[in-house]
Assembly symmetry: C2
Homo-oligomer: 436 residues x 2
């Protein structure tokens, strides 16, 4: 008997008809000989409606009470889906986060999962039931049953963490798009659906992938080697497989936080271009990166900071191979970014720096732990290594430093965050353009 | 510090504005120097909406999943009320039935409360918080956290049971009517608001009172001597006090069920009038009892049973003092109940029996225990005592028997149900008419 975890997002269970259609999909999977745990989100706009109700009462409602409020959305979904399954003759039982024993940090509204009790789920699976679990929620204490929620993308995280804890054979994420596309189809009409993507590539897809699959969920999948599939709940298409390398054996205790940092990564194939003192007016960044993209040049980090007065600095990094072309584009566009008709001599100055490197720490355990980033910055500062650029996502902190400091930075970061495995070279930046 | 339990029904928390107004009422009570536990129902028509959703999926949804579904309604209310209180500067915390530890029978959709853990509530009260508890819900197992609901009127039951467990000084039930009226104001325009009513009288008010305050809640209040007040959440009027005699000390374990039967009651001042073989057509009972009421005659039990073919028997009991007048009314109306134009000689025959008595068993623990009624019938049957009429409410089973058997029936019932206190004479039936 193969154990499969399926997760259905809000639009997939947005109406009675959709819930009935999910039930049929679930039963089809059972009939293929699988045991099934199903994780569901709140129906359609339920969460938005609850947030609106609360906002009419308070502009700054307490996070504990918001978790109390919002966790009802998933509870409604699990009850209705279980009723739909039972109506079709499929034994099923719904379980809240508290009933499963999804134990999280004592952090309302953005808790990380510490551990998941699997006894009760396994018992119900053995009874031949489909187990329907409320996504997005847990409890911070098995005694006081304090209800916590996992924050944005929480149901994805619940599903992958359940799959890891139950050692499922795969985790299927059903959503309203057919899978992971090579680009945002609203911007690039001929965006292609990918059959397969690695979890590392997926984590780089901050701008595209994160809308479909939350980085925390991908990070857990990578840590535990859990095969993921992202697919549409509206079609029978096979979707996109997210594959992970075979992981090191890893404890399920402290699932999301035991090792807040999983890897130290680096990339020495970087160069930086900065446009200094460009006017602080809308459209400057758009104008610049439209030109860059028009030349099919891939950009990695982009940072814009308020400089002083009414001007900004915009800096970005590219791979060394294309630095000359990128510089040419920047120089070509700079004049149009200067104030007309009497430009200041220093305005929109283009600066190129070749001898840089990027070092990054990555791990699902970072979310809501600002201390992790601070620890990285302190480690570099204490060694006298200057940080030129910083970029963060929910599962990664990247710093641009002088290339000559790279090896030393890696060694110090591995030591600080107790990373014993060798630091990994950062994957080639993913190309958010349709490849010809 | 006086501890008060307040309960607000669905219409009292039916909108954001109403919730804010409840919050202000709660704070006013705190400012008078009280500690406060607030029990709330689901907002307005929330429960109906959830029931409708489920009914669109299944005509016969499982009771477990319905409890999972419906318990979300109260959870939304407690979160929103707590947010409203905090917004007004009043520390508050919401607790679900599971978080409090309201332990019930393992009976979905109509569970009785076994016990309530008070530690956590008391801790929060000591911290100066208003504790907002979800009504209508509990858990059947502190280990598996199975969510149960208490059935119709459940939030009233939660509030009074909490008040009893916490040894509160009173329990206030806020609703959308100003208190208990002497009659249904839709039928009797000059119905008067009562300042006070005894819990025994209240329990007799099946037709009027039960809409305002659930009999199970009244029964618990009587068992534990908890003063109740029924009042409007829309006005500052004082409402109706429901007073109970000082009770025998009683364990809080098995709160609703430890003694399913609390009292054996009797009434020997009864006579029965039966109208046999009246045509089975709409309006017959209405016609009869309109005449009876027009004569200001109080009726106690009314039973209508299918006789055979197309005729019914209707029987009712009255106190002996008015039997002659009641018989006259019945005889006067009987001809109009006969089939025109060729009446059968036995049709609508009036039969009077004076030598009867009513014996009853009463207790909050009866609900959902059909075995209790069966045990009463078996006790009487084994003693060769014939039961002429049966009437049941959620907290009482009454039987009309021969007056000569009354003493023996009482003794046997006290023995069967282990009632050591002396049987109580039934209270005079409450007059559901405006007294002049």
């Amino acid at each position: 008997m193969t154990l499969v975890v399926q997760k259905y997002g809000g639009t997939s269970v947005g109406s009675v008809e959709r819930i009935q259609s999910v039930a049929q999909r679930v039963i089809k999977t059972v009939q293929l000989g699988n045991s099934l745990v199903v994780v569901v989100s709140a129906m359609g706009k339920t969460t938005d409606g609850l947030v609106k109700l609360a906002s009419e009462i308070s502009k700054n409602p307490s996070r504990r009470e918001m978790d109390m409020l919002l966790s009802t959305g998933e509870q409604v979904s699990i009850a209705l889906l279980s009723i739909a399954l039972q109506e079709l003759g499929q034994p099923a039982i719904s379980l809240t986060g508290a009933q499963v024993g999804i134990v999280t940090e004592a952090q309302y509204s953005r808790a990380r999962i510490l551990s998941i009790h699997t006894d009760r789920i396994l018992k119900h699976l053995e009874e031949g039931k489909v187990v329907v679990v409320a996504g997005f929620q847990g409890i911070s204490s098995t005694e006081e049953l304090e209800i916590t929620t996992l924050g944005r993308g929480g149901s994805d995280t619940s599903a992958v963490a359940l799959a890891a804890s139950l050692q499922a054979s795969r985790c299927e994420i059903y959503t309203d798009v057919p899978g992971i596309l090579t680009a945002d189809p609203r911007l690039v009409p001929d965006a292609r659906l990918m059959d397969e993507i690695t979890s590392d590539e997926m984590l780089e897809l901050a701008s595209l992938g994160a809308k479909v699959l939350h980085p925390r969920a991908v990070e857990i999948a990578r840590n535990y080697g859990m095969p993921l599939v992202v697919l549409s709940s509206w079609t029978d298409d096979p979707g996109t497989r997210v594959v992970s390398p075979t992981p090191q054996p890893r404890s399920l205790e402290g699932l999301e936080i035991a090792r807040p940092v999983d890897a130290v990564e680096f990339d020495t194939d970087q160069a930086k271009i900065a446009l200094l003192r460009v006017p602080d007016r809308p459209g400057v960044a758009a104008q610049l990166f439209k030109e860059i993209a028009g030349q099919d040049l891939d950009v990695d980090l982009i940072i814009q900071s308020i400089h002083e007065g009414n001007t900004n600095d915009i800096a970005f990094t590219v791979s060394q191979a294309i630095i000359n072309r990128a510089e040419a584009v920047a120089e070509a566009i700079a004049p149009s970014l200067r104030t007309h008709p009497a430009p200041h001599p220093d305005e929109a100055e283009v600066m190129v720096e070749r001898g840089i490197a990027k070092v990054a720490i990555a791990g699902a355990g970072m979310i809501g732990h600002p201390g992790i980033a601070a620890k990285m910055f302190a480690t570099l500062a204490n060694a006298g290594i200057n940080i030129q650029m910083i970029s963060t996502s929910e599962v990664k902190v990247s710093c641009v430093i002088d290339a000559v400091d790279c090896d030393r930075a890696i060694a110090l970061l591995c030591q600080t965050f107790q990373i014993n495995s060798s630091p990994s070279r950062l994957p080639t930046p993913y190309t958010p353009h349709p490849t010809p």
